[in-house]
Symmetry: C2
Amino acid sequence: MPLYRDLKRDLTQRIAAAEWLPGGALPSEAALARHYGTAIGTVRRAVDELVAERIVRRRHGSGTYVTGHDADRLLFHFFHVVPREGGRRAPTTRTLAFRRARAAPAEARRLQVRPGAAVFRVRNLLSLDGRPVILDELVLPQALFPDLSKQILTGRGNTIYHLYHTRYGVNVLRTTERLRAVRAGTGAASALGVRPGSPLLQISRTALSYGDAPVELRESLVDTAAHDYFSDLGKPAA
Amino acid sequence: MPLYRDLKRDLTQRIAAAEWLPGGALPSEAALARHYGTAIGTVRRAVDELVAERIVRRRHGSGTYVTGHDADRLLFHFFHVVPREGGRRAPTTRTLAFRRARAAPAEARRLQVRPGAAVFRVRNLLSLDGRPVILDELVLPQALFPDLSKQILTGRGNTIYHLYHTRYGVNVLRTTERLRAVRAGTGAASALGVRPGSPLLQISRTALSYGDAPVELRESLVDTAAHDYFSDLGKPAA
DNA sequence: AAGTGGTCTAGACCACCAT
DNA sequence: TGGTGGTCTAGACCACTTA
C-alpha cells in the first residue's frame, strides 16, 4: 500500500471526525508534509484523490477546504432532473409527511442496519417552476439523525444534504441510482397532477458517505412529461 | 497553459490519427520524455489525464496501451441496463432494419452536421437471457462511416463500438444520456413483447469521441419489468 | 535480466490570493 | 508581501511483466 494512501486514509478519517468543519481549511500542504514526515509531493498525491472524490476542494493561492453542501453542489452532483428544454433549475421542496417507523428487511439490507431498526420516513414533493415534478420517499436511519423532526426538516434554509452535513456530520459524497419506468398509482398521480396509469420514472437512490457507507434511501417518482433525467457517465471528475 | 496539457493534446491527436492503433503500445514514458524534451514526471501528468479519460490504459511492468473496445468495456462503461436481481450480462443484438436517410433538423444539431446530411438509421433489438429487452434506433453520420452496410453491421463478431473503432477509426469515449418514461407504441410493444401502453424507459444517448465530438445518436426503449438502468454518478474514474 | 510503470524525494520557480 | 497551491525538474528505488 503506497504511502500516499495512508495519508489519504488518515486525512479522510480526520475530516470525517470533524477535525476540520465543512468549509474549513486544511493545513497547508507544506504543513501536512512536515506533520507526516513526507515530501510535499506525497501529500499532493493524497490530496489529489480527495479532490477527485470531492471530499475537499483546492483554491489556488488560498488553501484546501472541506467540501460543503451548497445549492450548487446539490444541483450539479445530486439533482439529475432537468427541463427537456432550457437550463437546470433548483427545486422547491414541500414536506408532505414525516414519521418514525421500522426498517423493512430490504431497506435494512440496503442501509446496512438490522431489520426493524428505527428509521424516519419522509415524503417530499419537489416542484420546478411552481409545478410538482418529483415525489420523494426518504428512509433515514435514526441512529445517524437522532433528533430529526419535521420542524428541523422544514425549518432549514438550505439543502437537505447541507442539513445532514452540518447538523449530523453526515456527508453525502455520492449516490448510486437504479431507474425504471412504472405506472402512476392513484396517490402519486394526484400528488403530481397526472392521470393514474401515466408512465413515471422511478428512481431508487442510495446515498453514500465516507467509505461508501449508506446513509439515506430515496425512492423518487418523476413526471417526465417536460423533464428528463440527465446522466453524464464516463466524464472525468475534472 | 501548462506543459503537460500540450503533451496531452499532442498525444491525443497522435492517437486519434491512428499513429498507435487500438490495443497498441505507446512509447515508454522515458522515450516520450526524451522525445518531448521534458522530465518524465511531466509525461506522467499528461498520461494520467489520458488514463482518466480512458483514452489509454497503463499496465504495470508492460507499457501504456490505446484503449480498445472489447466486451468488458462495453458492459462496464456503455451498457447501463442490468437485471433487477443478479449480475450484469452481455446483450445479444439482432439488426431489424438498416437504411440510408437524411438527418432531421434536431438530429443534425445534435450530431453537428448540416440538416439533410446523409445518415444511416439502424434498428437493433437487444436481448438478455434470450428475452428482448431493448429496442435501439441508431443514427450515424455517413461521413464518419462511409461504407457501412447491414452486412458489415451483422457480420462483426465484436461489439458495435469495436467496429466503429477498428474499421472507421471512430473511438467512442463517453456518452451523455437523457431518460424519461413513456408509453409503448404498437411497434415497440410487439418487438419487446409487452402490451401497447405499457411504461417503457426511453433513453436518448449521444456518443462522443475525442474533444466531445458527437459520433452517434441512439434512442433506446427499455422494458424495465425485470431490468433497471444503473447509474453510478460521482464515482471517481479509478 | 532488461524494460516498463509506480512511488517517493528534494528542490526551484511560478501564479494566485489575502492583507 | 507572505503564504498558498500549481508546475516542472532530476534522480533514486521499487514492483511488475516479459522473455
